[in-house]
Symmetry: C2
Subunit: 614 residues, 2 copies
């Protein structure tokens, strides 16, 4: 059972070309060297590499999970080979400037191209993803030398990168991190690599924290600089960011061979996503790890969050592609596996036992499970690509377009992170269900997707954190202007869709849902009390996400009908998109009303209960 | 992290004594030797045994899953020791007559007592469950000698039992099974052990199919007897049932030492539930396995389904207890783990970083996840115990009470099987979420519960099969009388609840939901076309299940308030039950409306789509 990448490719092409119309980006100076052919070339390359270098080893990296013998961490050699192939393709620097060896690809194309690897083996892909995120942060906030010494080797694939935020006692609560960074000597401020500190502390959940791939690992570490009395500043405003290389380097970035004071305290043994080594790292057990401060002291979290939006879209796209992988695998199975007979038209549910068994794809409930998987997975891909397109707009659009894109991203990012994580996990569960007992065995890939996907509601900000971010911050920021802009965009789509007869019932349903979320948002904050407003934040996130996805599907349906007019895709391609839109808007969107009730009622059940009842 | 069984015990005691009022059963002749003390003694025994003999090995049986070296299947010795302890306790024969060594316990008490093992280690418990199911079937449909020879040694724990239904080419579609049973010699009909056949075929998904525990394994095998031309009869009416011992026995049940012609073709390597060996068995590769027919030819499935109702309630209770285990573990974690600060009352969502971190049980979203887990898990336990109580009524009640109980069980059994399987899986996902990254590691038990629980929507009739059973058969059987009886019972509860001021909003919500499911049922069948009626059977099952659980919680809430009046339980115990009822009825029940829309609209989206679009 292998993933049919050409089906993914068709849908990506449709989203990129017919829906998001990325050819317009090529008119902008940054992307002027590009055109449909270069974009297609990148997608071709990644599609092939994912199928050849990643997917065949996805089960292997699950069963042979990273192993620590007390001295070294061992990964399957397939992981290193896949990472090498990826680096050699140039994809690590896909979005970078030409003059440092990059391709200057739009974010939208980079995301679409990378999506193949998420479907093929997200556990292998994560190493490159983290490395690029690390190097991107340094490109945005590092000095010229920090960029050259620490970021460039990562884009070349020689070094790997990690992000060190959480600590054992402080997961989601970063204000409580206790890692210390003390100035290293009197000349600490004049080190060419940046102000030099000694770091001590423990960092938890560090993906890619230790392995033997590449020549070095660059850790980006959040820590606090103590005040004159040695006390760590309270809150997130006291957090700074440091570059801590595993092997120390000289001022020109040459490896000195000297190990920095970072040691592996242990591996986390996970439910899924096992291809990616996850570690607990101890800093400074032998006097302090040498680290170079990035930017200003006290701005560590700001720098980290600068990159977090893109990281959250990537988490969403990862979840979406796991959903897509399970969808395609269960779809193939359902069309090939004969079992049972259809219920006949007529008053009795009896079947005719003398008839030959039919493929299970003919049974209504299996059809439901396939359409639902498609609606979740393709909808999630569409959402994430739309967000990537907004990132491009923010970076290269006109000033007003960039401002609007930034505002929309504020509101949409929590959805792009959380919605695919929740619903493409559900898609994976449906994929297991389609395969029945076989889906529950490790002989088929769908159970692994389900396990792998379960991480996505946890890392890069849990579901609950996204909910508070959305309702507590994003929809009320700037007097609610970004939220109202999103509603205006939704209503533009609704107006467009109303012109297609076939989409009118869908347009009406999305319109009702948009009205409902608008009034629920007001209602949530009507007490003026954040405690009450946020009591049902997760129900709000869920409802908000479904409204956004209803809008996305309606917009995609408009594009599908336009594409149909241009005879660009097969009838069944267009019909598949319309069926998913119809399913989602007519069968899933009504849930919004039920989810919003506690908010409309001002229900504070959880707050009112004494602790001993919880 | 260990399960706090006393919390489970309190809730079981409340359900058994205050809600289901099982002391009334002791007035019946079959249970006349029992009283509150003997019931409590059985619960004490099982509570202790589950904690001492099962739970400590639950992770072990997951990591050291059954292994087949080509000759023998190896299980961890802990499995055999736990099964032995269980057998020695007499629980295998808990429901049997005194004169064959049984305890004549009511089904309700037997189920409640067994529930501890499901929470402790469902993978170990399954061996005993299957053995009892096998022996129960023989007690109901076997000859006196078959009962004595094959069932009694299973109740004594000397032999184990299995159920052989599925085949590799026929999972849910039993009419397509191809196992053959040919009369064995001219004297086949006069064997003292029952009509003797030679069985040949392949049986898939056989739990407990091979291991070295006990002295023998008794397989109950569905197969078809060919007609004079050697053709197998079509459909399920041609299926017969056979006893196939692994080691052959003489007419008195003494082991002959001769291996029957049953061989292990391989093990299934599962996502979870790994403590239970799951096998593919080949019958008759060497001439035919000797099997003794049970009852009449052609009634095999009828006999099997006679036991299936109880098996389905057991599956539901298994799912419920996995939900409960995760709830208790995540609850303990949430009250102990300090992290973050509560949002203050006031207009801003900002927090005070100088305040000490609080236990995460103080965060609203964690509280939501704990209350939801409680509502799902305790609600599911209540449902399954109520069904067990109906089983007792069917067996020992007055003629009219028995008839009503049987009717209610027809309609409720698909819900008892499917609802806990779906929603206690969700509860387990919430338990992972409460623990965050830690919940995603194998250092904590919650991820295993989630994996183990995923099987329950698949085995003993998939979710889709339950849905067709409910909407296609159960709610329309006997002109809908069993369904109307259920509605009457719901409305009796609603009337009772209305007398409590605090329950009036809940009573109204349950009443609306009951009305809605009643009219949706009519609407579903209004076309008179089963194909259309069943197009949305799974949405119907989901809605129906929530209405039933809304009713169960309302009824439980009435009992909690009555118990409060009698000062039998602590305030927080009663408040916990009321909070769960309030959460479920006010926040979850509104989903019913959304789920029923496609049915009310007569939506046939799946049926209308061409195959290539699916």
């Amino acid at each position: 059972m292998a993933i049919n990448y050409s089906v993914i490719r068709n849908t990506l092409d449709f989203f990129l070309n017919d829906w998001l119309e990325i050819e317009h980006l090529c008119k902008r100076p940054r992307f002027a060297d590009h055109g449909p052919e270069t974009f297609a070339g990148v997608l071709d390359l990644c599609e092939r590499m994912a199928g050849e270098r990643f997917e065949p080893f996805n089960r292997l990296v699950d069963t042979e999970e990273p192993h620590f013998d007390g001295a070294h961490v061992t990964l399957p050699s397939a992981t290193e080979l896949a990472c090498k192939a990826y680096a050699e393709s140039g994809m690590l620097a896909a979005a970078q400037d030409n003059d440092i060896g990059g391709m200057q690809l739009p974010c939208t194309v980079e995301m679409a191209a990378n999506s193949f690897f998420n479907a093929a083996s997200i556990g292998i892909k994560a190493y490159s993803m983290l490395t690029v995120a690390n190097a991107n942060l340094l490109m945005a906030h590092g000095t010229e030398r920090q960029r050259r010494v620490f970021a460039h080797p990562q884009f070349e694939g020689r070094w790997f990168g990690t992000m060190n935020l959480s600590e054992p006692q402080a997961g989601s609560s970063l204000s409580d991190i206790a890692s210390r960074a003390e100035p290293d000597g009197a000349d600490y401020a004049s080190d060419p690599l940046g102000p030099r500190y000694r770091i001590a502390g423990r960092k938890m959940w560090i993906s890619g924290g230790e392995h033997n791939m590449g020549e070095n690992i660059i850790h980006l570490v959040l820590a606090k600089i103590p005040d004159a009395e040695g006390r760590l500043p309270a809150g997130t405003k006291g957090i700074s960011l440091f570059i801590v290389p595993k092997i120390r380097v000289d001022a020109e970035g040459q490896l000195t061979g000297e190990h920095n004071d970072v040691s592996l305290a242990g591996l986390n043994h996970k439910l899924g996503y096992r291809g990616t080594v996850n570690t607990l790292l101890n800093y400074g057990e032998g006097g302090g790890a040498v680290g170079y401060r990035v930017g200003e002291a006290g701005f560590g979290l700001t720098y980290m969050f600068h990159m977090m939006n893109e990281a959250r879209i990537q988490v969403g796209l990862g979840a979406a592609m796991l959903g897509m992988a399970g969808y395609l695998e269960s779809r193939e199975y359902a069309h090939q596996r004969p079992q049972g007979r259809p219920i006949q038209a007529g008053s009795s549910a009896a079947k005719n036992p003398s008839q030959q068994p039919v493929p299970i794809a003919q049974h209504p409930d299996v059809r439901r499970m396939l359409v639902a998987q498609r609606a979740y997975s393709e909808g999630a891909i569409a959402l994430c690509l739309m967000c990537s397109r907004l990132v491009d707009e923010e970076r290269t659009g006109t000033e007003s377009a960039a401002r609007e894109a930034k505002a929309l991203l504020e509101v949409l990012t929590p959805v792009a992170k959380s919605w695919p994580s929740e619903w493409c996990l559900e898609a994976n569960s449906l994929a297991i269900q389609v395969l029945g007992g076989y889906g529950y065995t490790r002989d088929f890939p769908v159970e692994q997707h389900w396990r792998d996907n379960r991480l996505n509601m946890i890392h890069e900000g849990t579901h609950g954190i996204q909910a508070i971010d959305l309702l507590g911050r994003k929809v009320v920021m700037q007097n609610g202007e970004p939220f109202r802009l999103l509603l205006r965009r939704m209503r533009e789509t609704i107006a467009r869709a109303t012109q297609f007869n076939r989409l009118q019932p869908l347009a009406k349903a999305v319109n009702d849902a948009a009205d409902r979320i608008e009034s629920a948002t007001e209602r949530a904050w009507s007490s003026g009390n954040a405690q009450v407003a946020l009591a049902n934040a997760t129900a709000y996130l869920r409802a908000f996400g479904h409204v956004v996805l209803g809008w996305v599907w309606l917009d995609v349906a408009c594009a599908a009908l336009r594409a149909e007019e241009r005879v660009r895709y097969s009838n069944s391609f267009v019909a598949g998109k319309l069926a998913a839109a119809q399913y989602f808007v007519l069968q899933e969107l009504p849930l919004v009303e039920a989810w919003l009730r506690p908010i409309e009622r001002g229900d504070t059940l959880w707050l009112d209960l004494p602790d001993e009842v919880i």
